[in-house]
């Protein structure tokens, strides 16, 4: 009870995105800044999302070796 619960600003999801809590600006591959719009955002790590820089679930249909660790 006395130790505070873990509540990190980022959570790395094995094989999938990185979750980002709160408001942030994330740059895409061309350096264009994108602002987060929801309480928690999934940032793509496989680089194959059709909504970059955000995750759109595409990582789930990639072969194992193309999924981020």
């Amino acid at each position: 009870m006395s130790t505070p619960y873990d509540h990190p600003e980022t959570i790395v999801c094995p094989g999938g995105p990185m979750l980002l809590r709160g408001r942030h600006v994330v740059g895409d591959a061309d350096g264009v800044p994108h602002e987060t719009t929801r309480p928690v955002t999934a940032v793509c790590r496989c680089e194959r999302s059709a909504s970059l820089p955000w995750c759109d679930g595409t990582h789930k249909v990639l072969p194992e070796r193309l999924r981020p660790s």
């Binding site: 619960y5 094989g15 999938g16 309480p39 928690v40 679930g57 789930k60």
Partner: protein, 320 residues
């Protein structure tokens, strides 16, 4: 909401009694031998008493003991049906193995059909039936909040906050669906299309309310949520493309576009922060979480197959 058209002796008796607030004991007698369709419609109406006003039915009946008895009988029946279809996976960790398990158990897909083949009329038919859930999206899960410990409760609210628009009603998901329906020429009043709904659609909705309303089903409700979110992003993308192909309005496309990105977040939250916390506190609830997840995928498969059969479409699972 208006009472639907009865589908058999049980719903005839129940709806007449609801209108006249008669003694409900004679209705109870009708339950034995009622068809699944008839009983399922009755349970759907009894559940709706907990969500909204039904024209001509006094609000006090929400907690009428005889109606609760009837609700319990119909819920037992539903739960027995759902459990009989389920076998618990063995040797799997929910948090680690969930997404692979979903991949193996995902069934027939309406989104695949909408993507490339569906006609405009088929999509409208689908929207009318789906509206029974989408117009109250996330509400069944809201019942679960007070039943959780601090960590899981905060985690579920983090997800639900986004479903409910993060404070902005213009972003609230079931409102987005209502806007999409109206722009597509449909009536977004809750329940107007219930007479068109298949037994499968009603059963799918009843299962969500059943799991949401009972504290003992809290882990199953969250397992259901996880499976629902985990089968949404990619199908929503197909829906976007299919609706654009058919020239549906931007409001409706926008509802599905929102779910591509939202549910890519929600699926991770549901599994990692919500169920992760629940199972760390109470590992014995793992089987319930799987039961809920299986029920979600299984009922969606039944809904999709029923609709595809009705349209004479071959099961497209192989191309999904």
């Amino acid at each position: 909401m208006e009472l639907p058209t009865p589908r058999g002796p049980l719903s005839e008796a129940l709806f007449a009694a609801l209108r006249s607030t008669d003694d409900f004991l004679p209705v109870l007698a009708e339950t034995s031998g009622a068809s699944v369709d008839d009983g399922t419609l009755c349970l759907w109406v009894l559940h709706q008493l907990h969500y909204r006003e039904i024209t001509g039915v006094p609000d006090t009946l929400e907690w009428d003991p005889q109606l609760l008895r009837l609700r319990a009988l119909l819920e037992d029946d539903l739960e027995r049906r759902l459990r009989s279809r389920f076998t618990a996976p063995t040797g799997l960790s929910f948090v680690v193995d969930f997404f692979d398990w979903v991949d193996e158990h995902d069934g027939a897909s309406l989104a695949v059909h909408v993507h490339r083949e569906a006609t405009r009329d088929q999509v409208l038919e689908m929207l009318r039936e789906r509206s029974l859930y989408h117009l109250m999206e996330s509400d069944p899960t809201a019942w679960v909040v007070p039943r959780l410990g601090a960590r899981a409760k905060a985690a579920l609210m983090e997800l639900q906050y986004d479903e409910y628009g993060a404070g902005d009603p213009n972003r609230l998901h079931h409102h987005l669906f209502a806007l999409g329906m109206e722009a597509s020429g449909l009536d977004a009043t809750f329940g107007v299309y219930v007479d068109d709904a298949s037994t499968e659609i009603l059963e799918q909705n009843n299962a969500m309310t059943l799991l949401g309303l009972h504290r003992r089903h809290r882990a199953a409700a969250l397992g259901h949520l996880a499976a629902f979110e985990a089968t949404s992003s990619l199908p929503s993308r197909r829906m976007v493309q299919g609706l654009e192909r058919l020239g549906f309005p931007q409001e409706l496309v926008g509802y599905y576009a929102e779910h591509v990105e939202a549910d890519a977040v929600h699926e991770q939250l549901a599994v990692r922060t919500i169920i992760g916390a629940v199972l760390e506190e109470a590992p014995e609830l793992a089987e319930d979480a799987w039961f809920g997840a299986f029920t979600c995928l299984d009922l969606e498969d039944r809904v999709a197959r029923q609709m595809l059969d009705r349209w004479g479409v071959r099961d497209e699972r192989d191309v999904a």
